[in-house]
């Protein structure tokens, strides 16, 4: 097992190199010029050219890529063109809100989606099942920002129960931290809940037809025991896979959610960096998220062995 983990971690290195080259090339050919954005609207073309030169943006592709890659090898993600702050510091500054949002969303989604998926499978083709699946379709269909605005309007503006925007660090108290995350997590979690609920239902329906479930019933195991002990455990592998894939969905959704709820997270940092063509920041974020995604997939693979003892690496 240990050698498998080491092999998988080592295998991430070429993946990261390909990602690095791809991202750098993509940004190189993308239109836009950070110097023009920095110089401002009143700047003359000469000013823009001087700034471009001072930023080293006039140098050839290979030299720029070589320099950046050398920095990466030394653990340095570079310096933001705009803020003049280290990219690593910018990401670190923004990591807590995004990771908090993802963690709360993930917890909420799993806690809601798995039980309702199980119930939908148990009550398949009944009104309960149809209502749950109708909610799932709605969750898929309504964009995150629409849900976000509606939630903010009702629960923040009309009822004044929760704040409209912002983020409070967890160090300032658990409730203030959680209070700021409830609406964004619900908004972001809708799609995720719908996805997991549907997969849970489909997988559970299949498992509930199996012989061992019939045997369990014959042995007198109660409905709850059958659903949540026997069936759910055997249906867990596809569900966990979807949860893993959904992390990428969360990363994408966080960009919109953080904008709607003015959360100073990595999603907002990404959008701002793209709009300004802050190349080092974009490259740093993409690398970090790629690495995170590889690690999540590794964790999911390892979780398979816990859920299904037949799986061995």
């Amino acid at each position: 097992m240990l050698s498998y983990i080491i092999r998988r971690i080592v295998a991430t290195v070429p993946v990261m190199v390909v990602v690095a080259l791809f991202v750098f090339s993509l940004l190189y050919i993308a239109p836009g010029d950070p110097a023009a954005v920095i110089a401002g609207d009143q700047a003359t073309p000469d000013d823009v050219a001087r700034i471009r030169m001072s930023l080293g943006l006039d140098r050839p592709f290979l030299i720029r890529f070589g320099e950046w890659f050398w920095q990466i090898l030394h653990g340095d993600l570079g310096t933001s063109i705009f803020t003049n702050l280290p990219v690593a510091a910018l990401i670190a500054q923004r990591a807590e809100p995004t990771l908090s949002l993802m963690a709360v969303t993930l917890t909420l989604a799993v806690c809601v989606a798995v039980p309702i998926g199980v119930v939908a499978a148990w009550r398949a083709d009944t009104l309960i099942d149809r209502v749950i699946m109708a909610f799932a379709v709605l969750g898929f269909s309504v964009p995150v920002f629409v849900v976000g605005y509606l939630l903010a309007y009702v629960f923040a503006l009309e009822l004044d129960w929760l704040p409209v925007q912002g983020y409070t660090p967890i160090s300032e108290g658990l409730w203030p931290w959680f209070q700021n995350l409830i609406l964004p997590a619900v908004a972001l979690g809708c799609v995720y809940i719908a996805l997991i609920a549907r997969i849970t239902r489909a997988t559970m329906l299949e498992v509930l037809q199996q012989d061992y479930i019939r045997t369990a019933r014959a042995k007198g195991v109660g409905q709850t025991g059958i659903l949540f002990v026997h069936a759910l455990k055997n249906a867990a592998v596809p569900i966990v896979t979807v949860i893993g894939i959904g992390v990428a969905l969360l990363i994408g959704g966080a960009v919109v959610t953080e904008t709607v709820f003015a959360i100073p997270g990595i999603g907002r940092l990404t959008v701002d960096a793209i709009l300004r063509r802050d190349y080092p920041v974009i490259q740093g974020i993409v690398l970090m998220f790629s690495f995170l995604y590889v690690l999540v997939n590794l964790a999911i693979d390892l979780l398979y062995t816990v859920l299904d003892p037949r799986i061995r690496y």
Binding site: P31, D41, Q42, T44, F82, Q165, F261, D272, R276
Partner: protein, 534 residues
């Protein structure tokens, strides 16, 4: 007490303590009232007002860095850091003396050497700075509080240059910071202004915090825009960046923020209905919409094609697209300078007045040799003002029978593409849209878009000897009448050669909670004199 009652009571206390729901002591409430939460027009991504000339940077910089002179609400430069100035009779030698007691936020005194270094850095980046540098013989400290500026020829607009609102404004920094290459950003944010920048709380893209500088000594005169006594009635100002206008609107209504600099026109009716929110014009100097044509390539390298645009365009169409149906927010602008200011002129602006003449415009276009070639109109979609103007232009050009290549891009791409001089088919362009702050268009000092010096001009690279000659006349003018005459001739020349097409004059709102007092209209948000009731 039974188990349930105990759990409820404990949970209640826990929630109340966590939310701050327990009545806060009076001192804490007063302290909270001295914290202002402000939603700026954009993100403060960088904080070097010389390197980065975006307005949002200047607006924040005005809190942290002081200026030698500052514009008042009559658009006149007034002494700010300067106690007195003397000019030789020939206008070549200027001797300035600084006010006593000026201190930087690191506790060091503001010395003449700091001023000299700051001026040198500003000169490299500012249009008027470059002009002063060209005619400068000497700029040096005389003693700790005095510096001398010796020029090779008189420069009557020197105090305007030192106090102007247009970017980059002439901010004073410690000499060690001002020694930074003007084309590279500074790394320390130490000024001598009324507020200090709390760097450790700065989250670019999200938050910037300023705290009152207790050693700041305001002038005795009443405050007026960037001049007079900048008395801070707040201890702390938090700039909270909100990319989404809907969120900013909700946060203001909910009392989570106190002041929103640029409410979106569509949301203003909602804000006006809220009894806790005030809405008013932000900047009486407003903005001038701009339809910029490329003078290097056909068809707009021919003045007849450019005049065809002026002949056909309806400023009302543009302005309604920009600000909606609120007539208080716009007016037609048959001129290039800010209406309501002393130099405003409509000389030569007849081409924009009266009914629009599409047929005459078509004839002019045909005379220019245009025969259906594609014309590239670059339109930034992420800025509502450029997007609205671009859509009106596309419709106008189609009605003129032009073949429009509508390039929908984001502002970053627009900014890069407009710098391309290559032909439109090879990455260049024929048109783009922007707008100019009215504070910049009060005279030619910071108004780069009015320049027509070919290769050195602003994007579009217009060439007009008449325009350039009148700009020189304005700089040389020694009285308001001379200035007015020069600007009238300049306005006429700019219409004759169509430096660019003004699409109209428009205003914008600002909104704040009623608990906030002392907000004034101006080209930037002035925080001195602003208070917040508990």
């Amino acid at each position: 007490m039974d188990r349930r009652t105990f759990i409820k009571a404990a949970a209640g206390v826990g929630v109340l303590s966590a939310t701050g729901g327990v009545a806060a002591p009076a001192i804490a409430q007063r302290a909270g009232a001295r914290v202002l939460r402000f939603v700026p027009q954009a993100d403060l991504a960088n904080f070097d007002p010389i390197w980065n000339t975006q307005y949002v940077v200047r607006n924040a910089a005005a809190l942290v860095w002081d200026t030698l002179y500052g514009f008042d609400d009559k658009l006149q430069p007034r002494r700010q850091m300067v106690e007195s100035e003397e000019t030789s009779s020939d206008g070549l030698v200027w001797t300035f003396r600084l006010r006593p007691g000026l201190k930087f936020h690191d506790g060091e005194r503001v010395l003449a050497k700091d001023v000299v270094a700051s001026l040198a850095r500003w000169q490299a980046r500012d249009n008027m700075g470059l002009m002063t540098k060209e005619i400068q013989q000497e700029l040096s400290p005389v003693d700790d509080r005095t510096f001398r500026w010796v020029l090779k020829k008189p420069y009557p607009k020197l105090l305007v240059a030192l106090g102007k609102v247009g970017t980059p404004s002439c901010f004073m920094m410690p000499a060690r910071i001002a020694a930074t290459d003007p084309f590279k950003p500074i790394g320390e944010y130490i000024g001598s202004g009324p507020m200090r920048f709390v760097r450790e709380e700065w989250v670019p893209g999200a938050r910037a915090v300023f705290e009152r500088f207790s050693d700041y000594v305001p002038r005795q005169e009443p405050q007026s825009w960037l001049s007079g006594g900048k008395r801070m009635l707040l201890d702390r100002i938090e700039w909270i960046v909100m990319a989404d206008p809907g969120t900013a609107s909700a946060a203001l209504q909910n009392g989570e923020v106190d002041w929103w600099e640029t409410p979106m026109a569509d949301l203003v009716p909602v804000l006006k209905k809220n009894r806790n929110v005030m809405v008013d014009i932000a900047d009486p100097l407003g903005n001038i919409g701009s339809f910029r044509m490329n003078h290097l390539h056909p068809p707009f390298n021919d003045v007849r094609a450019r005049r065809a645009i002026l002949t056909a365009m309806s400023q009302e169409d543009y302005m309604r697209a920009v600000v909606g149906d609120d007539d208080a927010l716009w007016k037609p602008l048959p001129g290039f300078f800010t209406p309501g200011t002393s130099l405003y002129s409509e000389e030569g602006g007849e081409i924009l007045k009266g009914p629009r003449r599409l047929d005459a415009a078509k004839r002019l276009l045909a005379e220019s040799g245009y025969s259906g070639q594609p014309v590239t109109c670059v339109v930034a979609q992420d800025l509502p003002i450029t997007k609205a103007q671009g859509e009106v232009t596309a419709d106008l050009l189609r009605r003129l029978g032009m073949n429009v290549d509508f390039a929908a891009v984001d502002w970053g791409t627009n900014a890069a593409r407009r710098a391309q001089k290559s032909p439109p088919g090879q990455g260049g362009w024929q048109m783009f849209h922007t707008w100019h702050a009215g504070a910049v268009c009060i005279d030619p000092s910071s108004y780069t878009a009015i320049r027509a010096n070919g290769d050195k001009a602003w994007f579009g690279w217009p060439t007009s000897a008449k325009v350039e000659s009148e700009i020189t006349s304005w700089y040389a003018a020694r009285s308001l009448d001379e200035e007015k005459a020069a600007i009238a001739r300049l306005n006429k020349a700019a219409f004759e050669d169509v430096v660019y097409a003004p699409t109209g004059f428009f205003l914008a709102y600002q909104a704040w909670r009623k608990a906030v007092g002392g907000i004034v209209k101006g080209p930037l948000p002035f925080f001195w004199g602003v208070s917040k009731a508990a």
